[in-house]
Symmetry: C2
Subunit: 225 residues, 2 copies
Amino acid sequence: MPRRDVSFLFDLDGTLVDSVYQHVLAWQQALHAAGIELSVWRIHRRIGMSGGLFTEMLLREVSVPITPDLLETLQRQHAEAYARLVPWVRPLPGATELLAYLTAAKLPWAIATSGRMISAQHNLRALGIDPASAAVVTRDDVAHAKPDPDLFIAAADRLGSDIHSAVIVGDSIWDMLAARRAHGLGVGLLSGGYGQDELERGGAIRVYEDPADMLRHIDEVGGRT
Amino acid sequence: MPRRDVSFLFDLDGTLVDSVYQHVLAWQQALHAAGIELSVWRIHRRIGMSGGLFTEMLLREVSVPITPDLLETLQRQHAEAYARLVPWVRPLPGATELLAYLTAAKLPWAIATSGRMISAQHNLRALGIDPASAAVVTRDDVAHAKPDPDLFIAAADRLGSDIHSAVIVGDSIWDMLAARRAHGLGVGLLSGGYGQDELERGGAIRVYEDPADMLRHIDEVGGRT
């Protein structure tokens, strides 16, 4: 890909911030409060897609009728359970260094998350990112979240970059699917707990352990200065 | 494998009981209390091996000096954190039905866990298993836990079965590694959150979603009545 066009679009949870497992248990607790028992690994495998799609898929899996009331209750219960677990959430190793490297190298980057700004802002603060000055696209800004391509397309637009040469970094197969549907180049990180093979089958052009490992290999994906 | 010899040896956490994610977060909290920050997915990838080996590998990864005091503190903090999360632990779908099927089919089965009886007993109770009458081998019974083969060899001995025709069911690559080292036949379950490819590369002869899915395919692995 030509050096002059490259941009980097990052997912947030599991990609820059170590929050996937807390989200997973918060969803289990929210579902339990609504009388729905679902294996935790099945919740983990759905994490990263739009909250609405996510709950609809899970409810379909357990054959529970989907009502607007139930969806709203689940979203609220999840937010409450996550708030109890959020003290354990940390930036992933190398996350701030990777973004600082891109900034210093004048390589444009943005964040595109399926979450809403109200929950993303804690994570952004932990990363030392000011949402007022950085390019951050959330669920609030688009009609459809991942695995639809809207978030990444909006993020590239925000940067004035061509989505075809965007490197789209995420930890879940929903990021990789959205990357392909956006015609960008998916890069997978293992830090959300998916297996390497799942991300490769999802279309990742490269898979790294976490942001620190990606920074060590940044030349492979257009990040040379 | 000849029908007359087959036996089934089960791991417990993540295989019969949905407890892996709670153990993972409990370890994160224990490590944090000891001043050690480690990405949650790295903890997840080590879960299932002996608690001693597990902490030693993690501490080596973060270059923290390993002292008997630190190991004991971590084990205690983990037990305390896990106790707070244990109300969310459930039997996995099909676990009790799978064991009941084997019992009815007069196919011998045993449980072999890297945990100690003090923590395993809650899980056994949730499964309706009486440790006094069922064949249960724990960390207390052997010199070395997984990925050493001792636990599975002891479990086969307990049943009077040949380890070479034992079907060894687990959710982690440490179960698969211990199964190969014991010269048994590993069967992987996705219910602990590992990917299918990781279990296949670990030597699983078959991979199923969870105990319910294994019961649906029991004929494939010598479980016909």
